[in-house]
Symmetry: C2
Subunit: 410 residues, 2 copies
Amino acid sequence: MATVVDEHQTLRLQRLAQLAVGAGANVQEGQLVEVIGSSIEHAPLLRAISRAAYEAGARYVEYRYVDGHVRKAMIELADEEVLSWSPPWVVDRIKTFGEEGAAQISIAGEPEPDLLADVDQTRVGKARPIEAVKAYLELVSGRMLSWTIVPFPNEGWASTIFGEPDVERLWEAVEFALRLDEDDPAAAWKARMDELEGRAAQLNERGFDAIRLRGEGTDLTIGLLPRAHWAAARFTTTSGNDHIPNLPTEEVFTTPDFRRTEGRVRSTKPLSLQGTLVRDLEIRFEGGRIVNVDASSGADVIRTQVATDEGAARLGELALVDGSSRVGQTGIVFWDTLFDENATCHIAYGNHVAPNVLDEVPAPEDAESTGINSSVVHTDFMIGGPEVDVDGITRDGEAVPLLRRDEWQL
Amino acid sequence: MATVVDEHQTLRLQRLAQLAVGAGANVQEGQLVEVIGSSIEHAPLLRAISRAAYEAGARYVEYRYVDGHVRKAMIELADEEVLSWSPPWVVDRIKTFGEEGAAQISIAGEPEPDLLADVDQTRVGKARPIEAVKAYLELVSGRMLSWTIVPFPNEGWASTIFGEPDVERLWEAVEFALRLDEDDPAAAWKARMDELEGRAAQLNERGFDAIRLRGEGTDLTIGLLPRAHWAAARFTTTSGNDHIPNLPTEEVFTTPDFRRTEGRVRSTKPLSLQGTLVRDLEIRFEGGRIVNVDASSGADVIRTQVATDEGAARLGELALVDGSSRVGQTGIVFWDTLFDENATCHIAYGNHVAPNVLDEVPAPEDAESTGINSSVVHTDFMIGGPEVDVDGITRDGEAVPLLRRDEWQL
C-alpha cells in the first residue's frame, strides 16, 4: 500500500511541476531557469520542477531555498542599514537573468506564517533589499522574465488554514483551484485565460472613468486612466514567450489613477505579509494617499511598509474577481495572497502593474503628472465579496453595476 | 520531558554553532559570512550558525542550501557542456567574497550518500563547475577567506554509518571528535593545534627527503620538497584572521614533490565522493602519475576525476595522523572525508595545499619544474592505520620510523 500512496504523490507532484514549467513559465529549449523555494519545506516540488524544466529543455536550472529563520536572525540582530541592503551579487544575478531572458518559477505556501510575529515589526517592515527589488521589478515591468508562482501544499500551511496538518485536504483544494483535476490542465487554463481576457476587453470597451466599491466598512472610489488597459494575467515577454505569472489566477486588473483614490476600505480576508498575519485591516485614502491604517493584528508591518517610499502609500493596482473563481468556490481562506487575491476583488498599494496594462511605463519621477504609481512595494489585499457592490462610473457620472452578490453583471 | 530533550538539542546546536563561528571561522565584527548547508537536512545547524554569526558581529550572513536531487537531474538531463559550466553569477559571488575577506562555514554530513549511484558515473565525474572551483581555490590559496567545515549529525548519515538512524550515537561521536565534551571546546582546540604544530615543527627540523608507507597492498614512496613545510590546519588569512579550516582536524600535512611518487597504495577506509561510495580503492603511481585505478565500487568516478586535467592524476597532499586522533579513537568509519581523513594518514591527488605549507605558490604552468601540483581537483583518501608503517627517508637514504602501530615515533 505504501508504494501506491507514494506513486500517487509522485504523479501529483509531476502534474503540478509540469503545469508550472509548461502553462506557467512556459520554459523554452535552451532557456536559463530559476526555481525558488520560499521554504526548505518546498523541496519535493522544487526538485520535481527542476527535473521537469530540464526535461522541457532548460539549459541550466539555478535553484534557491529561502530560509525564514536566517532572515529572522538578520532582522533581530543585523545593523539597521543592513535590513534594506542588497548584496551586490544578488543584484548582478537578477540583471544577468534579465539579459538572458530567463524563466523563473517561485513556490508559495508558507509553512510558518507566524515566524516573525514576536519580532520588532518596524524592523520587519524595513527588511527589504531595495536595490534588488528595484532590479527585479525592472525585469518584470520590462517583460524580460517568463515567470510564474505556484503553490506547494505542506503541513504548516495546512495547519494555518484548517487548524490541523490536513495536507491531503489542502492538496485537493489546490488541485481544484489549479485545474489539475482536468484531463488537460494546460488546455483548461488556456480556456480560462481566454474568458478572463474577454472580460478585460468588455471593460476596456466601456472606458469607465472610475470604479466604486461599497459594503460594510467600505466606500471607496478609484479613478481610472484612459491609457491603462484592463488585462488578465497571461503575459508575453519581449522575446514572445507567453506565460501565466500566477497559478491560480482569476483576476482582471489595471493600474488606477492613484491621485483619484478617495474613501475607506475594509479588507474582507486576512493577509499573510512578511511572516506576520494581518487581520481586519482598514485603510483610509485622502487625495490618493493612505492617511490611516488600522488592523486587529499586524498594523505596524503595513504602516512601516506604507512609509517605505513616496509611492508606497498610493495605489498601484485594482483587480476584479467574481464568483466563478475556482479559488472563491473552495470557500477556503488560504492565508496566502496567491490564492486569496484570486478569490475576490483586491487592490494593492505600491508599484503599478505594467504588463498588458501599460503600453509604455512612465519614469518614476513622472508619477504625479501621469497618475501611474511607482514604488519598491506592491502589496495586494482583499476587499471584495458577495456583500460588496462594485460599479463602473462612466464619464457622465452614471453608475453601471459590475458585480452584485459576486456575479459579473456586464 | 519533551521540553528537556528540546532544550538539550538546542544547547547542543548552539555549542556546535559557536565553535564553528568562533574557533572555526573566527568571525570578526563587521565581516561578511557565508553559511553553506550541503543538504536541506542541515537546516537546524545552518540556522544556529547564522544566528551565532550575527551575534558575533557579522555584518551580513549569506546562506545557501545545496540540493543533491537538483544536481542529479542536471547530471542526468543537461547538455554535456553544462556539467562543467560555471554560472557567471556564482563566479562573481566567489570573487566578491574574496575581495571582502569573508568568512565561510560549510556543513558536512551527507544524508543520502548513494544518491548518484545509479547515474552515469562518467557524467558524475564531469559535473564540476571548473571556473567556479578555480576562483574558489584562488581564494583559499591566497588566504583571502576565513573558512571552516563542521559536521551536522542527521538520520541519513547515521544510517550510513550504523545501519540505523541512530542520530544520538552519532551526535555523541561528533561531540567527542569536536571536543565539545570539554568545558571550553575553543581552548581545547587551541591546545590541540599547538600540539600538532609542534609535530609539524619536528618534521620540518628533520628535513626528510621522502616518506615511505608500507602495509598490506601498500608500498609507496613520496618525495618531499625542501620549500614545502609541514603544517597543521590552523591558518591565518592575509588580514591576520586565525581560523581552523576543518573541525575536527588531527593531521600534519605537506605538499609533496609529485614527480617523485612511486609505488602502489591500498586505501584503508572507504570514501564518499560526489554522491558515490568508493570502496577498496587501489592506485598505482609511476613517475609521479596515477597509472591504474581499481576499486570494488566507484572506480569510474575516480578514473573520470583523475582525467579532469593535467594535475588531477598527480599528488597534491600527504598527511600524517596518529592514534591520538579523537576521530581514530571513536573506531567509527564515518563515510565522510572530514572525519575519516582525520582518523589516519592520507594522501590527495590533485591540487597542492598552500596555506602554512608554501611561502609562495608557483604558477600552475611551473608545476613540472617545481614539483608542486596544480589542478581543479583535490580528493583525499585514507591510506594509514595500525598495520601501515610510515618512515621518513633522510637525504642519505636512512629510514627513520615515524609511525608504528599508529604511534608517533619522533
